[in-house]
Symmetry: D2
Subunit: 385 residues, 4 copies
């Protein structure tokens, strides 16, 4: 019997972590052959390459696609996508996948969607249908309209994809594979490693045994020039917090410069004795760190999804996660130092939140692999209304 | 007062004809400055370059973008789009448009949509919301989700774009500007030129004063390998028709080879004494030719739109125009020689059809220019549901 | 023992014919593994794809690179080269060659040379060191300066490459592998096939048993706008010749339009009852056709090389072969109808010319393979003076 | 009278400094119109963008070309060049230059040379003909063979370009425009600014009034994996020096990672109380800093050229400047900590060296502008032998 070639394109380190259990399930599936393509910022040292983690997890990388054009402005983001199409179409021609899988909504994922759909390769989209209210939203829904199969992460998303005119038969609410990892950590989540020793990074090394805060704040593409001001609001709030702070560096993005240089400049100006900066961390370790954190601060989707499942309190800043379905664990605030400080204090006093399963129950990866092994192969579709 | 820069990207000759009155109205508008970009197959000699017509109509071309990668396969179509993004983002950086306008749904139009939306330039889409049931549909609805303004051509399309989650405030049913041209021809449409003399072409030159048939059949992207068989069904049907036949060469497309080589090979094998082949024709002349034709045969959208307004009988072949709203003038058939022949005969015996205004009343160009001059500039949106 | 991977990049049909025996010798060599890449116009149907011939000859194609950007102007030639670099560097990364081989001097060969040399892959150049006096010359000598090994075709070329500052140790006069094929035809060269039947083509089918002329004229890149005038001078001369004429279509090139459309238009205007047009012909058959021709007319390098060995009289038009070493068989003329006609008549009256071995003795392919198997691997060099 | 459009493409910050006086002379020339294109690493913040300096010097930038593909490996260098060709050919089409000027020998300059020569635009090359013995050399001589005019910086280079088969008439020894700046500093070169205050940077801020050393060491492309080891040899040598050290960050290059991460890691491991790190410095200030330095250490060409004119002692490390003509001021050493330390001490004890004018006398910029205004326009050439 012929196995199906399932080609998954990972364009950013967080995307890898998010779907790792799906990759494992595809690899382990008796009817599927995993073809793994790593591209864009997922490859780059200065954003914390995903390659080491991927290989340490036992995956073989079938193709690496370097397509990030330097410039960190909007034109470079457009051109990076153009180069991505050029490169990925060659990769698909070599690998001859039966299904291509694209993940979420970063701008470069559009390159995967266009190359596959223009080449008449059935396209599966993981985590479509969500709403956030930024440029990612244009990309996300646009990819939905190019995709043949929709592997969404919540009921909310399922309904929205169907409203977008997709056939119900090809919309599957599998939950989010990132919750599979949270599930494991939930069961056995002690902080059994020293993050400074294991992951290096720069800055102070405050004692974390008595509790700590985690910060992760990405630039918001549509508000390019404000990136620096946004990050400084958070830095100001965090500077005065009494607890140790573990800060994670942002991913590449148009706008990264404002955020990154904001952090760098702040570090030169102030002596932050309670803040340590990490470039990246293996997914499972990061979840353990979160699971034991007092609060997560920033605008990462991990606060909305994994932390809902884990019951970790979150201070969610700004518009990046707008309108994503929330559990009981989130307080939303604007880019305002006082508002951020107050919300952190409120979360500290409330303690752990109740668990929500809105983004899955811990078996998404296997569901995804099963669907990809059975779904009818097709690249032709028409809107239902 | 600052005028708005409206940058229109034309990627194919038929797209130019379709929106010519909108270009004229933008150019003439006191608050608008037209920036015209000609790209892709619209530039190429072997598909009948649009440049001559554009310049003869008095337009200045602000930038030419050569991005068609040879190969005429699906990979080349993907790569053409990638190159288009690379080139158009440079063009937009130079021209600094306030609004970019992309037309319809050919695969290369995606390059315009991505370059503009990724660069945070407000994007207007002309002729979204329609349904056809081929690869164009993925492209069309995907562009809708990247676009900020929707200038649709029918009520049917208007409803569909709104269902896709776009804000009503930014969806405008202007009708199709191609109907503006049909309107002029309807008023004064005698065939006042000799098509052989004016447009050259190859093949026989049958007398057309006693009536004639027009044929225009494009390859259908999703059915690549069948292109040749499809065109031969039509060639076989047309070969036995008693009337003069004026045949128009297809545009570039992934699949063009099957169609084009099918025609070339047929011409070498058979002596087609009643068939003349044109590469292209100025839009107004083409409409006059249609207005005086007994039947239009093929799969061009002109049969669905302009011919509805003009009341010209149409034999529409295959899936390319599937589910587009139709007037009273169309008979649909499959790629089948007998079916095509019978439908032609039926249309010949019925004569002219009743006029339908479903695609506009003749003032679309002006409506479009007015909207572009007044609509709120924005590049940020979020799905309504 | 590890075999060396020898990656040969073929970018045009004539380049393939020219080095076929080298490919055969590499493939047959016990220490070499042939990696064959077919790119640019060599792939395209409308210039006579080389793929069919290559596969019929028993070669496996390891990668196909579509990089021809349509436009047929100088900008498109530059961009085609840029795309070629993007694509070929991915191919080299996949194939991991020990040596890359680039052939001759067409503009796209620069893409091979840059990709290989920038990636620190040892680069061998076949047929450097010659002089022609057109844009090809800039390309040819520029590639010499990027190359590590020089497999030249004549003593003249050997001396020139050494003068260019290359180390003698790495300059090898192997003769031209195209002469290997001429050698076989010289031994057994009867015209044992019917060219019309075997190769199709268009136009008249004059009887060739009593002798015929072959024409092959390519556009000359530097003289873009003159291409049409040049081809018409030849067409006018040939039109009045009494013998059957077998005309071969030009390859792609910036300027192809002038030449190709010149021929097309001429065919529509005149009834050329003694002229047949071929798109292409398998190399060996073409040599047999030449070997039995009364005269070769045009500007192909085959007139300078293979015809010298075969003793076929040549009327060489214009600057394309300027300063290439000549045997006794060539008369040079300008783009002038009368000059061309007179030279043809002079060659007809003289008959077969004396054999010259200036471009090799018939064993170049094997010499090349042996050198590639033994030469020291290196990608670092410095000018000798 | 029509002025000539002279389009200069600057791809790296040091190239800008090197030819600033030529740009000034072109801008000021009554028969020339300067078109300035800034591309590649010259634009990027993280290598010290040249844009600020260029604009502060009163130049208008006509086009910015972002073409650096991230990855910092050899494949990325090749692809960066491919993208450069795509982008620059569009720029040249817009600007319609009469002459394009390319500078020196970095890998991206090849994109300028190919785009211009393939588009039949006369190409001038500044600083060809030199010998260094690394990958730059392939690029440099290859560009010579694509160029129409050669504006070389020394007698040695002049002779070499002529030996490469170029016509004497088009080879001009103008000296190096960087010496024009050294000339100004030589006349009035006090250190009239505080480098820490004016240029920021990171690290210690040792007192420099009693003398200091300058370090500038770039990665050497051909020896990619050794970059880190090379930089550590220098770091080890410098660590034990008693004088203040002003260290300049390397430019982008394939291999930058090894060098840059070597420095970063060393800084985390050691407390370098006498070393300050600069990202960049305006050319004239840098020369003043050099003019007052005790020794320059590293592999920058500034040590060979400007320092010869200024008489500043230089410890030149490794192969990067191999075979470049030297004045009396240079000691060459290998990548060896002891050798570097000893050479520094030797230079410290010898003091200032004698002036050499081998790279010009201080009026190169004006000579270059005059030549570009008068030289015959041509893009066709043939090798002289």
């Amino acid at each position: 019997m012929n196995m199906r070639n399932i080609c998954v394109v990972v364009t950013a380190r967080p995307s890898y972590s998010r779907i790792k259990t799906a990759l494992q399930a595809i690899k382990a599936h008796s009817k599927l052959n995993l073809q793994l393509v790593v591209a864009a910022s997922a490859l780059l040292e200065r954003y914390g390459t995903a390659v080491n983690y991927i290989e340490a997890d036992g995956f073989k990388i079938d193709a690496k696609v370097f397509n990030v054009l330097e410039g960190e402005n909007l034109t470079a983001a457009a051109k990076t996508t153009g180069i991505g199409i050029l490169e990925l179409s060659s990769v698909f021609e070599n690998l001859q996948p039966d299904i291509v899988v694209t993940i979420a909504d970063r701008f470069e994922t559009m390159a995967t969607a266009i190359a596959a759909s223009y080449m008449n390769i059935p396209l599966a989209h993981i985590q479509g249908g969500e709403v956030t209210g930024n440029i990612d939203e244009k990309v996300r829904h646009s990819i939905t309209k190019l995709s043949d199969y929709h592997l969404v992460a919540s009921e909310d998303a399922e309904e929205r994809v169907i409203k977008l005119g997709e056939e119900k038969e090809f919309v599957f609410n599998t939950g989010c594979p990132s919750i599979d990892l949270a599930h494991i950590v939930k069961c056995d989540g002690d902080l059994n490693f020293d993050p400074y020793q294991k992951y290096g990074g720069v800055g102070a090394q405050p004692l974390i045994s008595e509790g700590y805060i985690v910060v992760m704040q990405h630039p918001v593409t549509n508000e390019y020039t404000d990136s620096r001001q946004h990050i400084e609001a958070t830095l100001d709030a965090v500077k005065e917090i009494d607890l140790p702070v573990l800060w994670f560096w942002p991913n590449v993005d148009a706008g990264a410069d404002g955020t990154s240089s904001g952090i760098r400049s702040y570090r030169e100006r102030y002596d932050l004795k309670h803040v340590h900066f990490f470039k990246n961390m293996e997914g499972q370790d990061f979840l353990k760190l979160l699971n034991n954190a007092k609060v997560l601060v920033g605008n990462s989707s991990v606060g909305i999804r994994e932390c809902a499942y884990l019951g970790v309190p979150v201070v969610n800043i700004g518009s990046r996660q707008n309108r994503r379905q929330r559990g009981h664990n989130v307080i939303d605030v604007d880019y305002n130092t006082n508002a951020i400080k107050n919300a952190i204090e409120q979360q500290l006093s409330s303690g752990k939140a109740e668990q929500s399963c809105i983004y899955g129950e811990g078996n998404s990866g296997e569901q995804i692999a099963d669907i990809l092994s059975e779904v009818k192969l097709k690249f032709h579709k028409t809107i239902v209304y």
